[in-house]
Symmetry: C2
């Protein structure tokens, strides 16, 4: 029996994770759950999975939460403190970090210090604090198992191969809803257009990130930290069908790829079951039929190029990239700036930043705050120009 | 430095193997070479690679061989004896069996008994004597490394995974030159038509086997012996581009695939370098562009179905399948029987055979002789009807 805590249980990944628990009731037990604002769904999850410890994003969310007291669950708190408490519960063997943004950074570090396995579905944590988190995991002998389908695929392809065998990673990208469009085609796209992802059903922020290719850019940075490879060893290839979840090229030119359904339950289950594998539905490549591969267009989608620039610059630049992107995407979703202004805001913020070391969480948070503030101002300037 | 003997050095695989030696002169040394009838090419190979021991198929071939004496090589003999001597040379660490047919069966067994690693590019040996060969390898602690691109791919995909993780193997097949044709379309195809393989450049016999899909059938049987899986755990999928060399499906529905150039030097080098990997040219999936997958048509290509039947029947039936196929293909190449008569001759011979145990090489050879004789007669009867 593996005992798990889930940070972000009402989100898309959290819900998929709980359906993996449903499929393996003899193998998985929920110890802790943390959610943000969705009190209605969270109440139902608490009633069903009977966790020992729970937390929500805000006290107003807790106020709206009904019926949890009779289950005997402990309400551990709100915000980052609540996340830390759920991640640190002594009974948890594994913590799935599926919350968006960087709120769970401290919680992940706390779980690592306690020797708990981390299943990581959150990109921002490694983008912002990859050096801090991976150093802690190494020091504590803790495995960070990637849940993102791409990194999960690479984990499966590497499967204990020696690092000397590896030439490069090849991350696949669906290309999002605007694949094939030129930069000028993208001037007029609306949030609704951008929210129509062709192959994956996900949250709003990550869906926009997929449309700009920033999602892939963040994954490039994440891959650097997870697999210890340099920027020039990570390639991105557009693969519209999202069947090949990613590949590794070995030194002899042999590519090892992982393929499967576009269903997040598969990589989540892999992370929960690792190093074992548990049965799930078979995959028929003949039904997929056709797989295409093309080079990404970094003219029309400059976010990918910006992410490589941030990774190559290292130090604080990925923090700036991520923070500015969060602000720009939020402004776009609110209809305040256009789609092509997203990379403009990010690049402008990166240009205004003087990269520095970020060896502590405090330093990370400081750069993050500065970048958000700067990006907000830049977005306002763009908005005024529209 | 790995020291190798090559059985079948003047054939397509043998020549590719020597070009792998050319690419890694600091890692590979040729100890022994054996060829069939091509004295001219063999003389050049001896002069260039300076093996300690050599052999040819017949004494008339040896008579035609010029210039080998001054190299100091020992002429070990002809026929099976010559092959055994080249495979058994004390200096050889690894024996590449790249000769066609079953002549090198004794040589492979001799090398196994001496503890030499086997790189196996020959299908017939496992099809005819898989039980005998794999039992000997197990007893002697010897690795049999598959060189066929499909099995080589599966070896790379499994990469030490536990057998309990494996659900099935998925062998890819180009579909050959007649993919998409109906059974009636195939009545009039000529040997020249059948020798036009779309993706791989190979010898004549294997090229015809690719056109009938018998090549894939033999590979299904080979996979059974190499990887210890049952017939119902081996699937075949048509993949015209031959970029995905084969796949494994794990129990959770995750597919692991190996992709690369259609160049036999890659799997040969893998077998030579294993468990290391040596550098070779990078592979660009974007240049491949598009990959297709479809189900095989066993109505138009009954040989695949016959191979499954032989494997399920086990015992002597695969020997009969292989022997009858060799005769039928030879008769087709000589223009004596039509393309669609190939499976008819094989099926007729299988139907006439009463399966029996084949625990010794003598028993295998006896069934083989009977099947060849019977298939020859059947082919003559078909020929008369044309």
């Amino acid at each position: 029996m593996k005992r798990i805590s889930i940070l972000g249980s009402t989100g898309s990944i959290g819900q998929s994770a709980l359906s993996v628990v449903d499929a393996h009731p003899d193998r998985l037990q929920v110890v802790g759950l943390a959610a943000g604002e969705n009190a209605e769904l969270f109440a139902a999850q608490i009633a069903r999975y009977r966790p020992a410890v729970v937390a929500m994003g805000t006290s107003s969310a807790v106020d709206r939460l009904a019926g949890w007291r009779p289950t005997g669950a402990t309400m551990a708190g709100t915000g980052r403190d609540g996340l830390v408490a759920v991640a640190s519960h002594p009974a948890a063997d594994l913590v799935l970090c599926a919350s968006a943004g960087t709120d769970s950074l401290e919680a992940v570090l706390a779980a690592i210090e306690l020797g708990k396995t981390i299943a990581l579905a959150n990109k921002e944590i490694l983008v912002m604090a990859g050096g801090i988190v991976t150093a802690a995991a190494k020091r504590c002998g803790v495995a960070i198992l990637p849940v993102d389908s791409e990194h999960n695929a690479i984990h499966q392809c590497l499967h204990g191969r020696d690092a000397s065998e590896l030439r490069r990673l090849v991350l696949t990208a669906s290309g999002g809803p605007f694949r094939g469009r030129s930069a000028s085609d993208l001037l007029k796209v609306s949030p609704d257009d951008a929210l129509q992802h062709p192959t994956w059903r996900m949250g709003r922020k990550i869906t926009i990130d997929s449309a700009t290719l920033m999602n892939k850019g963040l994954e490039v940075i994440e891959a650097h930290w997870l697999f210890g490879v340099r920027a020039n060893q990570i390639d991105v290839v557009i693969h519209p069908q999202s069947i090949v979840h990613s590949m590794v090229e070995l030194v002899d030119g042999s590519l090892i790829a992982q393929l499967g359904v576009t269903d997040m339950r598969l990589p989540i289950q892999y992370a929960f079951s690792y190093p074992e594998r548990w049965p799930a539905t078979s995959f028929d490549i003949v039904r997929a039929g056709r797989l295409d591969f093309e080079a990404p267009d970094t003219e029309a989608f400059p976010c990918l190029r910006l992410a490589y620039r941030a990774l190559e610059g290292e130090r604080s630049l990925p923090v700036v990239l991520n923070a500015a992107n969060e602000i720009a995407v939020a402004q776009f979703l609110e209809g305040r700036i256009g789609f092509t202004a997203i990379p403009q805001v990010i690049e402008g913020t990166m240009n205004a930043h003087r990269p520095a070391e970020v060896a502590t969480l405090a330093a990370v948070r400081e750069v993050d705050s500065w970048a958000r503030q700067y990006a907000r101002e830049l977005a306002r300037a763009v908005e005024l120009k529209v």
